[in-house]
Amino acid sequence: MYKLVLCWRYLKTRYLALVCVISVMLGVATLIVVNSVMGGFSAKLRDRLHGLLSDVMIEAYDYDGFADPAGKMEMIRKDPYLASQVVAMAPTLEIFAMLQFSYRDMPITKPVRLVGIDPADRAKVGGFAEHLVDPARKANPNFDLDEAAKARVAQAKKPEPLVFQPILNADEPPPPDPVDSRPHQPVSAILGYAIAHFRDREARDEDGTLHDRRTLQPGDEVVLTTVSSAKMAPVFDRFVIADYFKSEMSEYDSQYVFVPLDHLQKLRTMEGKVTSIQIRLKNFDEAPKVVARLKEMFRRQPVEVQTWEDKQGNVLAAIRTEKGILNILLFMIIGVAGFGILAIFSMIVGEKTRDIGILKSLGASNWGVMQIFLGYGLLLGVVGGGLGSLLGLAITTNINEIEHLLARATGQDIFPRDVYYFDRIPTDIQPLAVLLVNVGAVAIAVLFSILPALRASMLHPVRALRFE
């Protein structure tokens, strides 16, 4: 019982021990905050990657694509196992392209990834409709222009028609009427949000919020240039912006341009061909079996079947590695706290030498004395870990407010929204991670108490009593 009483009294009366508590607390809080933010980023990234890629993909090996996507989808529907697992399928045609437009009379050219889709089909496999900026289009994804866009198209400056003034001899018959050449109606496109916007660092609200400056409005025209399939000849067409695609993934928002699948097929002379079929599953846990079945089904076709995780394997592995390394590095903070505990405990054992002698004269065993200091370390770890958890959770839940305050105080963007295109810092508090951090902190506190505790337990009672 004396161990418990003394541990508690030492904790309450030895202010030096507060240094240990604070160091453990800060270490635990830092780990929780970093883990939660990293977890938030990671979850958001996974969400985005997964959302955009659908669960399983049947992909062509090259940009020439593969033929008969409808036939392939029909085969999948007829397979009893696949039919039971597949929720939706969407054929897509993807190719690199150059996008040109004019902003303030300056020609701007950007490399993009041109994706031909049927918006309704693509929405069924997920990761598309929910990222469209126009709220009306989220429910009914399409390439139709809204009224404002149509008005902007109508107001757009048309090129002056060429007026021919033929020099006619009186005896010559009049020239034939020109052929019926109704004006070319540009097809609509949905543009990645970051292609049509840039974040203006000068345009900042009072609360420090950055605003985006738009370079292309719905109804504006762009030219997309790509290559045809067979001859690799340049082909191009004009498109009108119908909406924006904002996934908050910089890589996608700054590159993707969605256009109608049939139009892109015609433009590239790839009628009836696509580069991939996106498949959504009922249950992603079944993905390996589905992939195996699809591979078997299309083993003689020039296609590759993989899950979104296979396709993004490197990115996901990089995230995992980054998180792991960061955790190890940050855990060293608690390691440093552990050395603090070792130093301070050694001092306390020195200071408490007489008390140890007294306890031994009263019949306390060596193991009992050791338990006092191990218990003291445990208590410091538990208290430090508990306070650190509270602090870490408080910071994590208010991280955006804290970031705003710090950004305003320092004048520096701590979380550059133009890089991530997230409005808020994403966080994901994992109870298991919080628990593991606490267990680790307590274990380190106890581990670093062992040496001073051992020293205390080995003290000779007479020498301890005579200690000056």
């Binding site: 019982m1 009483v5 003394l6 007294i358 004269s361 009263l362 019949g363 306390a364 060596n366 009992g368």
Partner: protein, 271 residues
């Protein structure tokens, strides 16, 4: 309380409760060996109040520590009644110090984090596990408070050592020493750090415990005046007890009345 005293006139010396046989102890420091005890034979009988005197460095505190199992002799043996205790395993020695022996030191050695009553409770806290404590707590507190009352510190029970005078701290230390109802009390210069009045009060308290409770008291002191109030004086010189060079014994030597009831108390649990 003090009824039925009988004079020990039987002529038969009572059996020793504690004895040292040819005890030797050498301390080594920086390669230099200092032989502190050079073969000491010494015995204390039950209910006796013995003082050990001698010059500084004569080995009197060392002898006290060896007999109280705080230290081990290099040679010789220590006996508690008919049980050898110097070679007991550590845990057994811990139990002896917790339950059978009580210690008082010159510098009081109270635990500064604890209040007076908690300091008195300390032996009971050491003896109890977390699970045993709730069952013992009430009785332990009651006894600790009674002991503080007995040593005249009922009003100081919630004070910490730093808030008490030297005499009060030593009385608290005495209350702590008898908390577990020991048979033998070891006092190492108990008045060495106190003024004359406080020293006299402490000696009176020790004498009362010896007389009323039948506690065997083994005290080390420099102070011959204090030693003269005990039953017997043993002089240690240069690590030896020379029978030829012992001081004049106090009046009443070997004729102190012994109460039969307290004899049982003194032997309680010994052996």
């Amino acid at each position: 309380m003090q009824t039925g005293y009988i004079e020990n006139t039987s002529g038969v010396a009572p059996p020793p409760i504690l004895r040292a046989e040819n005890v030797r102890k050498t301390y080594r420091r920086n390669g230099i060996a200092t032989e502190v005890l050079k073969g000491v034979d010494f015995a204390v009988t039950q209910g006796e109040f013995v003082s050990i005197v001698g010059a500084s460095g004569s080995g009197k505190s060392t002898l006290l520590h060896l007999m109280g199992t705080l230290d081990s002799p290099d040679a010789g043996s220590i006996w508690l009644a008919d049980r050898r205790i110097d070679n007991l395993p550590g845990r057994e020695r811990d139990k002896l110090r917790n339950g059978k022996f009580g210690f008082i030191f010159q510098f009081y050695h109270l635990l500064p984090e604890l209040t007076a009553v908690e300091n008195v409770l300390a032996p009971e806290l050491v003896a109890s596990s977390i699970w045993q404590w709730p069952g013992r707590k009430k009785a332990a507190f009651k006894r600790a408070e009674e002991l503080l009352e007995r040593v005249g510190l009922g009003h100081r029970k919630h004070h910490r050592p730093r808030e008490m005078s030297g005499g009060e701290m030593q009385r608290t230390a005495i209350a702590r020493a008898i908390m577990s109802r020991p048979g033998i009390l070891f006092a190492d210069e108990p008045t060495g750090n106190l003024d004359e009045t406080a020293g006299a009060e402490i000696m009176a308290l020790l004498r009362e415990l010896n007389r009323a409770d039948g506690l065997t008291v083994l005290m080390v002191t420099h102070n011959m005046e204090m030693a003269n109030t005990t039953d017997r004086i043993v002089r240690l010189a240069s690590g030896r007890i020379d029978p030829a060079r012992q001081p004049v014994q106090p009046a009443g030597y070997h004729s102190r009345p012994v109460e039969p009831r307290t004899m049982e108390y003194a032997w309680r649990g010994v052996g």
